[in-house]
């Protein structure tokens, strides 16, 4: 679960990491009284979870009340990566000489957490040359003072900046460990004229699987009603922009089905993994869900039955089809009792195939006609 910037900064404050003075505003008038309180100049920042906020105009410096009013209204109406601005963070403008980068994140390949840092941060961080980013591994019990010296030296810091950096690093790592973050990132970590450091932004991603130990964080319901529906059933669901809705049981199986659609020149309308099993009620729920996708013209179902009786799956398909007319359905159903399943579906408006290739090809042909 990704936290909003303001939530991440609340965590930073809790762990003693310095952040600029700020106030959260839900609407224009709250934004104006926040500016009043924080003082001018101030920075107005859209609270969204999508990346590319700066480029989309979601961060703006305001110098006058008029400007603040105009910009608050504009940013509140902004969409970043399809996502509405949920709130504004009004923050004191912070003068600084340098922007650094600091994070604690999982290195999958090495199977350990690492602390990463760089002398240059901000939006340039992605175009940094290899080697500009330095790191130390993070032991499961946490970083030691020695580790913090090692990283600070690698970055090339000295004096007040070095001591502040080491302190912030240890705090950020403790936050990452105690709150069970996948990622805890400060970018930019600004160096002020006096050498002190302040966290200008936050990017905190919590480990969803560890949320049972952290009940204080609650998941926001997704903006997209179909995603909400998918979450209710525990489906993995990703909207895509093509016209072939792909449904299957098992993430790898659905991924491989998307590849087939693409190889045949088609474009998938979604990825929907209904989970390892293939119980009838789940198949039904998945079909009802993709029926709501406006861009889906055909539905491609790939079920590898395994220990599930495929006749159950077929009954589910038939049941949903009888409720309302829907897009053409192409299905590959394999597993126990597959002949019976095919017989059940003949005449029910479902084209059933023996292999995923045949089903995918037929689905793609149907939309390109």
């Amino acid at each position: 679960m990704r936290l909003f910037e303001y939530q991440g900064k609340e965590l930073f404050s809790k762990y003693g990491i310095r952040v600029p003075r700020s106030k959260l505003a839900g609407d224009e008038s709250q934004a104006l009284s926040a500016v009043e309180e924080i003082g001018l100049p101030a920075v107005i920042k859209a609270q969204v979870l999508s990346g590319g906020r700066g480029k989309a105009g979601g961060v703006v410096l305001v110098r006058t009340k008029d400007e603040a009013k105009r910009e608050a209204r504009r940013v509140l109406g902004l969409r970043v990566g399809g996502e509405h601005t949920r709130a504004l963070l009004v923050e004191e403008a912070s003068e600084h000489t340098q922007e650094m980068y600091l994070s604690v994140s999982l290195n999958r390949g090495r199977r350990e957490f690492v602390a990463l840092a760089s002398r240059s941060g901000g939006t340039e961080v992605e175009s940094l040359a290899k080697g500009a980013m330095v790191e130390v591994p993070v032991p499961l019990e946490g970083l030691t003072d020695d580790d913090s010296y090692t990283l600070s030296t690698k970055v090339g810091l000295y004096g007040r900046t070095s001591s502040e950096f080491r302190s912030i690093l240890l705090k950020l790592e403790r936050l990452s460990r105690e709150e069970e973050c996948e990622l805890a990132e400060i970018n930019p970590l600004a160096v002020r004229f006096d050498g002190s450091l302040v966290a200008l932004d936050s990017k905190v991603v919590l480990d969803d699987n560890a949320l049972f130990r952290h009940p204080e964080f609650s998941q926001l319901p997704p903006e997209d009603p179909l995603e909400g529906e998918a979450a209710k059933f525990g489906f993995a669901f990703v909207r895509l922009d093509g016209d072939v809705a792909v449904v299957g049981n098992g993430a790898g199986l659905v991924l491989s089905t998307l590849d087939l659609v693409s190889d045949f020149g088609g474009r998938a309308a979604c990825f929907l993994d209904l989970g390892g099993g293939a119980q009838r009620d789940r198949v039904e729920a998945a079909l009802r869900l993709v029926r709501g996708l406006p861009n889906a013209r055909v539905i491609l179902v790939n079920i590898f039955g395994g220990i599930t009786r495929t006749t159950d799956v077929a009954e589910g398909l038939k049941g949903v089809l009888s409720e309302a007319p829907m897009a053409l359905v192409f299905a590959r159903i394999s597993g126990a009792e597959e002949e019976e399943a095919r017989a059940l579906l003949s005449g029910a408006g479902v084209a059933v195939f023996r292999t995923p290739q045949e089903a995918a090809l037929a689905a793609v042909k149907a939309v390109s006609r």
């Binding site: 990346g51 999982l106 999958r108 390949g109 199977r111 350990e112 957490f113 992605e126 499961l140 460990r177 069970e180 996948e182 480990d207 969803d208 699987n209 560890a210 049972f212 130990r213 993995a236 990703v238 895509l240 299957g248 049981n249 098992g250 993430a251 790898g252 199986l253 659905v254 991924l255 491989s256 998307l258 590849d259 087939l260 659609v261 693409s262 190889d263 998938a268 990825f271 993994d273 390892g276 590898f304 039955g305 395994g306 220990i307 394999s334 597993g335 126990a336 292999t355 995923p356 290739q357």
Partner: protein, 306 residues
């Protein structure tokens, strides 16, 4: 570092056997011919599930049966402590079916393995099946698997079944099929599976089912080169058409920038001399062809410059 899989009729235990899922699969494992000798659920000692006695602790179950391997169906919040208990009671092989395990609990299980020499497969794995031993420590549909010479290692569950099914239909049985798990971090890696396969004479060829996300396949490719892996290897990577920065079902299946793309994995594996299949259905033919190359198979060049 390699690991021992139970022999024919060697006793195994099921942790979490009184759960709906644990009980269902204990029965299926028994019917496959695996010696499920005991189940464990704290506080439920004295019961029986599918005729299998249930004990309150792994220690009791181990003392009564002599089992050294366990399959775990316990809920995610309890997995780490269940694994610690199992290792403490002498289990050497743990198959963790449990999904949604916190990443730091998985990292702690990796350390538990390093310190004890025990082996955890998973979490979020379909498990292991070895048809020649009638051994099933997993949830896979057994009709898709037949005895033979292929070692099948997969990051995905259903895709492993799909590929096994295609191999079996193509008269290519499996010596072992093992899912490493769909999480970002696996306690047993594809690379470790390859080391296992290198040492087992019954394995004639290896099939790897990878997917987007992480760098397990790239590391595997490096390992093939460094160890001059001596057997034919066929790989398939799911997710060539997947968009970036979206979790595609598995927590581990996500591309960031150029990290974790199918192109990178396919290129690395080809570079290492592996044959890469573009669809699951062409895997059997490629396995057959790479085998018939037989003695002509030459180990790829070393990645280390002289």
């Amino acid at each position: 570092m390699t690991f021992a899989v139970p022999e024919v009729d060697e006793p195994v235990i099921v942790q979490g056997i009184t759960g709906r899922y644990g009980g269902l699969h204990a029965g299926l494992m028994l019917r496959y011919g695996t010696n499920v000798a005991a189940g464990v659920t704290p506080g439920r000692g004295g019961q029986a599930v599918e005729g299998v006695p249930v004990y309150g602790t792994v220690k009791e179950a181990a003392d009564k049966t002599g089992a050294r391997a366990s399959i775990l169906f316990v809920p995610a919040p309890a997995l780490l402590s269940a694994a610690e208990e199992a290792v403490g009671a002498g289990m050497r092989l743990l198959v963790a079916i449990t999904e949604h395990v916190p990443i730091r609990d998985t990292l702690k299980m990796i350390r538990l393995c390093e310190e004890s020499g025990a082996r955890v497969i998973g979490p979020n794995t379909p498990g292991i099946i070895m048809p020649s031993r009638r051994l099933k420590l997993g949830i896979m549909p057994s009709p898709s698997f037949r005895e033979g010479g292929v070692a099948l290692f997969s990051r995905s569950g259903t895709l492993m079944y799909e590929v096994a099914d295609a191999l079996t239909r193509g008269a290519l049985g499996q010596h072992i099929a093992l899912g490493v798990g769909g999480d970002p971090v696996n306690c047993t890696t594809l690379t470790e599976c390859l080391d296992w396969a290198a040492e087992v004479d019954d394995v004639r060829s290896v099939v790897i089912v990878g997917e987007i996300g992480g760098d397990a396949e790239e590391r595997l490719a490096e390992h093939i080169i460094d160890t001059r892996f001596p057997k034919p290897l066929v790989a398939y990577i799911a997710g060539r058409s997947a968009p970036k920065e979206k979790h595609m079902g598995h927590a581990g299946a996500i591309i960031y920038g150029d990290y974790g793309t199918a192109e990178s994995k396919i290129a690395a594996l080809r570079e290492a001399g592996a044959k890469v299949a573009m669809t699951t259905s062409e895997i059997p033919a490629i396995v057959r062809a790479s085998r018939s190359e037989g003695e002509g198979h030459s180990p790829p060049r070393s990645s280390k410059s002289p």
